[in-house]
């Protein structure tokens, strides 16, 4: 469970709370970076390590919920745990709907926070893993020639070799050769494996982009 590469970001306008959270996070072997405002945090580049965010809801300037919106806009998939001294049901519902990991009223038990932290980091790890996989698949797709890409699209659409040959006005043998290269480049062991890989990315869009 202890993984020193994981980082916990803390955003709270109360220095005492910031410091207390930092200590608590440190005590479980995690790194904590603290910020006194949402704006300050948004200026930070997120590191390439598992991370999560603990944020107060009521703050001067951007509130915690505003911060959540901003992150979504930037497509930054960092899990958020909200802590609040005066949470109301509507606020927590909104936060949870927007994807918050947890919503903790102050004062909270350390275990509650740590559980939330771990699930957040786990979630982040998972996300990061998926993102890495997609990145790899995209890299493999990009290694294909334009003709191979065309063939890939039709193959994953479930067309037979001779149908593809007809569509692309190629010989069936040529199609077979392309297909063998595709399997090799995509590191797919079977047609089913190839389909699973390509499902994770939008190969059509990717084909367009590559043109």
């Amino acid at each position: 469970m202890t993984s020193f590469d994981a980082i916990v970001f803390v955003v709270d306008d109360d220095p005492l709370i910031r410091d207390a959270l930092e200590q608590l996070i440190k005590s479980v072997g995690l790194k904590a970076y603290t910020f006194s405002s949402a704006r300050e945090f948004l200026e930070e580049d997120l590191p390439d390590t598992p991370c999560c965010l603990i944020s107060d809801i009521r703050m001067p300037g951007l509130s915690g919920l505003d911060l959540q919106d901003e992150l979504a806009k930037k497509d930054l998939k960092i899990p958020v745990i909200f802590i609040t001294g005066h949470g109301t049901v509507p606020t927590s519902v909104r936060a949870m709907k927007a994807g918050a990991v947890d919503f903790l009223p102050k004062p909270f038990e350390d275990q509650e926070l740590l559980d939330a932290l771990h699930s957040a980091l786990e979630q982040n790890r998972q996300t990061r893993k998926e993102q890495a996989e997609i990145k790899e698949i995209k890299r493999r797709v990009e290694s294909l020639t334009p003709r191979e890409h065309e063939v890939l699209v039709l193959v994953t659409a479930g067309m037979l070799n001779k149908q593809i040959a007809y569509d692309l006005k190629l010989s069936e043998n040529t199609v077979k050769t392309h297909r063998a290269h595709i399997m090799q480049k995509m590191k797919a062991e079977s047609l089913a494996d190839l389909v699973r890989l390509t499902e994770k990315i939008d190969i059509c869009r990717h084909k367009d982009d590559s043109r």
């Binding site: 005492l16 410091d19 608590l24 005590s27 479980v28 004062p107 350390d110 926070l113």
Partner: protein, 633 residues
């Protein structure tokens, strides 16, 4: 006419009455066939009165008036009075007189004149010289200021000589009496024949006073210089103004008017000779009355016309009256008590009272009643302003109370303020636990965390202190208090709220409640809190029965019990025990301080606060307050 009012004899009315009577009589007599007398048609006796003076001279005018009236009233036969004004002081030359005589002769040639009256020393002199030409066989009465003006040896059998009864001696004596400090007397007189004649009268009496008074006659003067002089007389002086019809510069005057100027300019008191002067600046004097002289003259004239012989008729005599002007007495600080007995004081300003007693009383009554009304209004205003002050004071007090009550509204932010350090402390402490549990324990980090614990607790303490400061107002200030006032004051504040909430607010106060001993503000705060609580409890109950009763009675020998009974939702059994605990609340926005504070206030006062369930509906909160005892206070 102006001076008629001052004689006190109501001459106007008398004269008018007499005149009317005379006119009526004449009319009756003249009417043919009415009576035997009427048939005789008596020819009116004709009098020609010639005044030496000009027409508007006050003295002459008043004498003429009086003469005319007296003739009508005193005679049993009709008399026709013709009056001429020769204006001789102004034109003393004989040529003028001759022309005037010619005029009169021409004017009266066709008329039978039965009696001629010649008034003024100027006339006497000329008549002595030229009288025969005109008045040869007409009886003549000569009126002068001095007998010397008309030597007796020149007197003809049909002539009667009379003198105005000037009494200068009495006036000089009077000046001495009234103003004993007077050393100098300035006697002002003109240069006309009449002026000199009156001066002659004074000259005769002066020697009597010269041992005590330095008497100076001011006769040969130019008026403008004289007027300057009178303003700078020595303090121990007085002025005696006789008559000035003409001055040394041959300027002509109305004596009274010049006297008026003199008295105004003068730095010392002025005295005079005739009652026509009174009211125009003289202090007073032994004054000759113009009316009186006119009446006497009429009397003699009627007797002559009635057939009496002229030589049997005595002179007009002196009938002077001591008269004074009240305003001048005041001006010269002359004590009225010093005036000789029988003195008449006119122009008394106080006499307004006599003249207008009714009006004055009326006005005073109106003024007083207005003042009274005004005072009432002022008192009312004062009361109101006091009531306003009182309510302001209550409001101020209430600001504090509402500060406590509005805690509910700010409870959320307060909770946050306490929560923050509390959350921090908990996190620090738990972090410390974890650092301790490590292998090896991270003592450095543990120290940091514990430091945080201390910082957090300290902040929480500060928050609590701030709340306490908000809640606590001041030390207990106990005074004797009327329970009714105490309750009424609070009711006044909550009545509106009761109306808004449609709660029937009722008072049930026992008679003869004694004073209690406590801090007004704090007790009102408690009562207010209980009533507001009651409203809130009722707020959630059905509409049918919404009532809040405030009761006060003597429960124990030494305390008054005040209770607030509501028809609200009541108190759950489980909450009964923690009802008065701080921060216990069932209200969404409440802080749970109201009852806790109230209880501590009541206990500080040596009383109790408790709650009971009503048998039917709602709750009753009661508290006791000790009765005020003199020896305790």
């Amino acid at each position: 006419m102006t001076t008629n009012n001052h004689t006190g004899k109501l001459p106007d009315t008398g004269h008018i009455a007499k005149l009317i009577l005379a006119v009526l009589l004449t009319w009756v007599l003249c009417k043919p066939g009415v009576s035997a007398l009427a048939a005789e048609e008596p020819v009116p006796k004709r009098i020609l009165a010639i005044f030496a003076f000009k027409q508007a001279l006050p003295w002459a005018y008043r004498v003429e008036e009086s003469l005319r009236a007296a003739l009508a009233s005193q005679s049993s036969f009709p008399i026709e009075l013709n009056v001429e004004h020769a204006d001789l002081p102004r034109y003393p030359d004989e040529t003028y007189f001759r022309k005037v005589v010619d005029l009169y002769r021409y004017k009266y040639s066709g008329l039978k004149v039965d009696l001629t009256l010649a008034l003024g020393d100027e006339l006497a002199e000329l008549l002595i010289k030229h009288g025969d030409e005109f008045f040869s066989d007409i009886p003549l009465i000569l009126v002068t200021s001095e007998t010397e003006t008309f030597p007796q040896d020149l007197k003809k059998p049909n002539m009667t000589s009379l003198v105005w009864g000037w009494d200068t001696g009495s006036t000089i004596a009077l000046i001495q009496d009234l103003l004993p400090q007077t050393k100098h007397l300035f006697i002002i007189s003109g240069t006309s024949k009449t002026d000199l004649s009156i001066r002659e009268n004074a000259l005769k009496v002066v020697p009597k006073f010269e041992n005590k008074l330095n008497i100076q006659f001011v006769t040969d003067f130019v008026t403008s210089e004289m007027l300057e002089k009178v303003a700078k007389l020595p303090n121990d002086s007085a002025i005696f103004f006789l008559s000035v019809l003409r001055d040394a510069n041959d300027e002509y005057f109305v004596s009274r008017d010049l006297m008026h100027v003199v008295s105004e300019r003068a730095n010392v008191p002025t005295f005079g000779i005739g009652d026509t002067y009174l009211g125009h600046g003289i202090v007073g004097g032994s004054l000759l009355s113009a009316e009186n002289q006119g009446e006497r003259l009429a009397n003699i004239a009627v007797r002559l016309l009635g057939g009496e012989s002229a030589k049997d008729i005595e002179s007009m005599g002196t009938e002077n009256q001591l008269m004074f002007d009240w305003r001048q007495l005041k001006r010269w600080s002359i004590d009225e008590k010093r005036l000789p007995p029988g003195s008449i004081v006119r122009y008394r300003e106080a006499s307004i009272w006599d003249d207008h007693r009714g009006k004055i009383i009326g006005v005073i009554v109106i003024i007083f009643s207005q003042a009274f009304a005004l005072i009432l209004l002022l008192i009312q205003r004062d009361k109101r302003s006091r009531a306003e002050d009182e309510s302001q004071r209550l409001r101020d007090d209430l600001t504090h109370v509402s500060r406590v009550l509005s805690m509910g509204e700010i409870a959320t932010s307060l909770a946050h303020e306490i929560n923050q350090p509390l959350a921090a402390v908990q996190s620090y402490a738990q972090a410390a636990q974890r650092f301790l549990a490590g292998d090896p324990p991270d003592i450095d980090e543990m120290g940091k965390s514990l430091h945080g614990v201390v910082a957090g607790s300290r902040r929480a303490k500060e928050v609590i202190q701030r709340i306490r400061m908000t809640l606590e107002k001041k030390p207990l200030e106990r005074t004797p208090l009327q329970v009714k006032d105490l309750i009424h004051d609070v009711i006044m504040l909550v009545q509106r709220r009761a109306d808004e909430k449609k709660v029937l607010l009722r008072l049930d106060l026992a008679d003869g409640l004694p004073q209690v001993f406590g801090d007004r503000t704090q007790l009102q705060q408690v009562l207010l809190n209980l009533i507001i609580n009651g409203f809130e409890a009722i707020g959630d109950a059905g509409d049918s029965y919404r009532k809040l009763v405030v009761q006060a009675s003597i429960e124990e020998p030494d305390s008054v019990i005040i209770s607030v009974q509501d028809s609200g939702i009541g108190i759950d059994e489980e909450h009964r025990d923690i009802l008065f605990d701080a921060f216990f609340t069932t209200k969404a926005e409440g802080l749970g301080m109201g009852l806790s504070i109230s209880k501590s206030i009541i206990e500080t006062h040596g009383g109790r606060l408790w709650a009971t369930q009503n048998p039917d509906q709602g709750t009753t909160f009661s508290f006791t307050v000790p009765i005020y005892m003199e020896d305790l206070g």
